[in-house]
């Protein structure tokens, strides 16, 4: 099971500034290991953020995103106490979801 994400969400009025760090190797399939063998591709493909269970932000990405990906985005119509959850799924079908509660302004 993958390590938890680090999610930071800060409210500015009704906009949540979200920053998330995902723990993932994001292998491109072009890197060689110490033995000179190609390391197979292993990367996050899909990302989705939900506010109180309703999708608000989605991404489809490739192996060109850096290792341990960091994303920031802004969600409208958020308020303190709302639950923000982020899910990623990689090319091997591994998934992870983490949820935070938005703090007071």
């Amino acid at each position: 099971m993958a390590n938890p994400m680090k999610i930071r969400a800060k409210l500015e009025g009704d906009v949540a500034n979200v920053r998330v760090l995902m723990s993932h190797p994001m292998e491109t399939g072009q890197r060689k290991n110490a033995a000179g063998e190609l390391v197979p591709m292993h990367f996050i493909k899909d990302i989705r953020a939900e506010l109180n269970g309703k999708p608000v932000f989605e991404a489809a990405i490739s192996q060109a995103v850096s290792r341990n990906p960091v994303f920031a985005f802004k969600v409208k119509g958020a308020k303190a106490g709302d639950k923000l959850s982020i899910t990623w799924e990689d090319n091997r079908g591994d998934k992870r979801t983490d949820t935070v509660e938005l703090g007071g302004a």
Binding site: V15, K54, V56, F57, I61, S62, S66, F73, V75, K76
Partner: protein, 156 residues
């Protein structure tokens, strides 16, 4: 003969199971993804091909897309990029790195309640243009910024 038929039946059974799995697990109609993982575009080896696969040929240059990225990136493995679109009704932002082996990095969808801003960190194999396509009301707009890379970040 018989044996071939058996194999055919078996593989047919397997693929229908896979289809069922996708239907129930990944793509339930209630929460269908706004963005599809566009395999053809992700596998394209040059920008023109990727844009064509994305259905975004001949985007219009726009001054309303802001790309914040370093002029010179010390380390091509982690190049931070901030993108903001001031084009009204921006639904999607797409990022391409012209000279990467596979230029299409990804797309971000804002239709359901996010502001058209995203921060992403990408790998760059060599100095290249960072190309951002913003899609609004079915039209495609683009902005380009050159980033020089000191040490490439694709091989290793």
């Amino acid at each position: 003969m018989n044996r071939n038929r058996r194999v055919a039946l078996k593989s047919a059974g397997l693929s229908s199971m896979l289809v069922a799995g996708f239907a129930t697990g990944l793509l339930r109609p209630a929460d269908a993804l706004a963005i599809e993982w566009n395999q053809d575009a992700f596998h394209a080896k040059n920008v023109a091909d990727a844009l064509q696969k994305l259905g975004a040929q001949n985007p219009v240059d726009s001054g309303d897309i802001t790309i914040k990225a370093p002029d010179i990136a010390e380390n091509g493995a982690v190049v931070p990029i901030d993108i903001t679109s001031d084009i009204p009704g921006t639904e999607r932002i797409t990022v391409l790195i012209d000279k990467n082996p596979f230029p299409y990095v990804g797309s971000f969808d804002f239709t359901k309640g996010a502001l058209p801003y995203v921060h992403v960190r990408v790998k760059m194999g060599e100095s290249s243009n960072v190309r951002v396509i913003a899609t609004a009301n079915g039209k495609h707009y683009q902005a380009v910024k050159e980033v020089k890379v000191t040490i490439g970040g694709c091989g290793g």
